[in-house]
Assembly symmetry: C2
Homo-oligomer: 362 residues x 2
């Protein structure tokens, strides 16, 4: 990004000033762009204005771009209204499902030449303008759904928005997008929630045995039901297609385990587990590189300053860390710091840390 | 733990010198206990001896305690052989499934007065004696399965072993243990592997949209198939019982999504997601406390020393961190450091960090 020259010339109107809308406003205001805020709730607009995300609507506004950031179940209505209200503007939305609103608008016969759906893959655990941040989109993928009707200048305007907020534009069709987020976001949410649901009736002793594995699998099960009901309902076709395959796989491994000594049963187990190995290897590592890192664990006392001291020394050794994680051993006043480094430096780093007196898991 | 007086008087024999067996040996040797190592592979014994985990077997050995740490599918055979070879010793094993070997031994008519099954909830991604560590069990739960036949002195001997290596003994029946590990370890492994398996045929664009959620859900899908086939086969009854309920829940939410506008469908979605909320809340937080932490995210440049600098400053502010995690934004030279603190200090810490020039997500 250049520092002072904005790609967008003209005002940008943001409808819906929750987390995403207010964050778009903050980003664009920081780049000197005129941001117009609107919301069904006047007090939400006032809060977003106070936070510096933009200004209130005036009757003579003529935005070049409208960004719709309202809940999924009213997205189609708001798109239709904004297309009618600002016929010369390009309209985009940030809803996490792209096909359902499009189908609904086509059914109503709305002309969609000036509409380009989009979806930033960004979020936080907390919602609302109060949680908004100008950093929210930095480096995150932002899907843009063009079609053959989309004029080049309109597409360029939406991609300018994406680049302006520091995100990475990815062009996809609405169908591909919905299947993709079904696979990497919506079905994982269901899988995690259903696993966590099994824990709700567990004995106290059983949950005491929980380690990092089940914690990771169920972390996103803490998500807000209200938001997810809307998302899952809006993308139900793609989600059902993936869940049906997932359900068949659950049934197959259940059958194999029920008859574990029958011919072919262990092959089902092996194929499931190997399929999991292959699938998790598909997830891109950070920075988009497909590179393996070496994991190192160091034990530290559980008191302020120990971890900083460790990382200071690693910095002195001029080593860059990936995926650092701190964990406490249950019932012990010891912390475990786990991090990854590029394989070339791992052995020497372990030797150097041990020389300096650190307790390294080898 | 006292520093120099061992609870165990007499030699401890370890059969099977993989990760767990060799780690037990390292722990006990560090406490001055005579550790006798045995394994079907003489070269594995030699490696473990070289690593300091104990000494080779002698014909006149009279161990007071035998720890069996062999693969699940040979555990029953080795228990039977050791009970016959050392009739005055207490025999325990560390297999991750407790009912199957017990049932098999009872079927053979083996007297089990001197046998107490146990299971340390500890492990690493790498296996073998080379990965062994005297710290492996510190603070981890170690399940001990007594029954009404178990003499108090024999139980005390196994619990001494558990305390000696720094673990936390938990008494459970074999049935309760197997159901518990099925729930918090074995079924989560299957759920994660099956989710990851769906990714193996995904488009490159789809996996580019992956965020931290699906990464967490599928992390343990990278586990070794060989080990897990044995574990799942040995605990198939408990796993099937949990998987059947899980499968019914998958079918129910699939049906609800297939007919998303039918009466009752949204209630199924709500109950699934709320059930997940309730289940994940059952997992104990670290140190066994049920306490909420406040999450804070700080943006740092992706270069050596930045994170150490941040943590040094947090240390200067005398704040103790929980669950620290480093993540890189895709395509951006920025890292996000996410950590948790007790809620009482969060607001002041954010102000202090911002005063010092750090970019804090609020």
């Amino acid at each position: 990004m250049s520092e002072n020259v904005s790609r967008l010339s003209g005002a940008v109107r943001v409808v819906g000033v929750g987390l995403l809308g207010a964050s778009v406003g903050l980003c664009l205001r920081a780049r000197g762009i005129d941001v117009i805020l609107d919301d069904v709730s006047p007090s939400s607009v006032q809060l977003a204005v106070d936070l510096g995300a933009g200004r209130a609507t005036r009757v003579d506004d003529l935005p070049v771009l409208v960004v719709i950031a309202v809940p999924p179940d009213v997205t189609a209505d708001v798109i239709e209204a904004e297309l009618a209200r600002y016929p010369d503007a390009v309209i985009t939305d940030v809803a996490s499902v792209k096909l359902a609103p499009l189908v609904e608008l086509k059914r109503r016969g709305v002309s969609l030449v000036n509409y380009i759906g989009s979806h930033p893959l960004a979020g936080r655990e907390r919602g609302g303008a109060i949680a908004a941040s100008g950093d929210l989109f930095i480096g995150r993928p932002w899907v843009v759904c063009r079609d053959d009707q989309t004029p080049a200048w309109a597409l360029a305007l939406v991609e300018d928005l994406v680049l302006e907020v520091g995100a990475v534009p990815i062009e996809m069709t609405p169908d591909d997008h919905d299947l993709a987020v079904g696979l990497v976001s919506h079905v994982p949410q269901i899988v995690s929630s259903l696993m966590a649901k099994q824990l709700s009736s567990a004995s106290d002793d059983a949950v005491r045995l929980a380690g990092q594995g089940v914690r990771d699998v169920t972390r996103i099960a803490a998500s807000s039901p209200e938001m997810w009901i809307q998302i899952l309902a809006a993308n139900h076709e793609a989600v059902v297609a993936i869940l049906e395959q997932y359900g068949r796989d659950v049934a197959a491994i259940t059958d194999a385990l029920r008859n574990v000594d029958a011919p072919g049963s262990r092959r089902v187990l092996a194929e499931t587990l190997a399929g999991g190995n292959a699938g998790v290897a598909r997830l891109p590592v950070k920075h988009g590189e497909h590179r393996k890192f070496t994991s190192i664990v160091v034990l530290v006392d559980d008191r302020p300053g120990q971890i900083a001291q460790l990382l200071t020394e690693i910095g002195e050794l001029n080593i860059n860390l990936e995926d650092l994680r701190l964990d406490h051993a249950e019932g012990a006043q010891l912390g475990m710091v786990e991090f990854s480094v590029v394989p070339e430096v791992a052995e020497q780093l372990i030797v150097d840390l041990e020389t300096r007196g650190w307790r390294v898991h080898r």
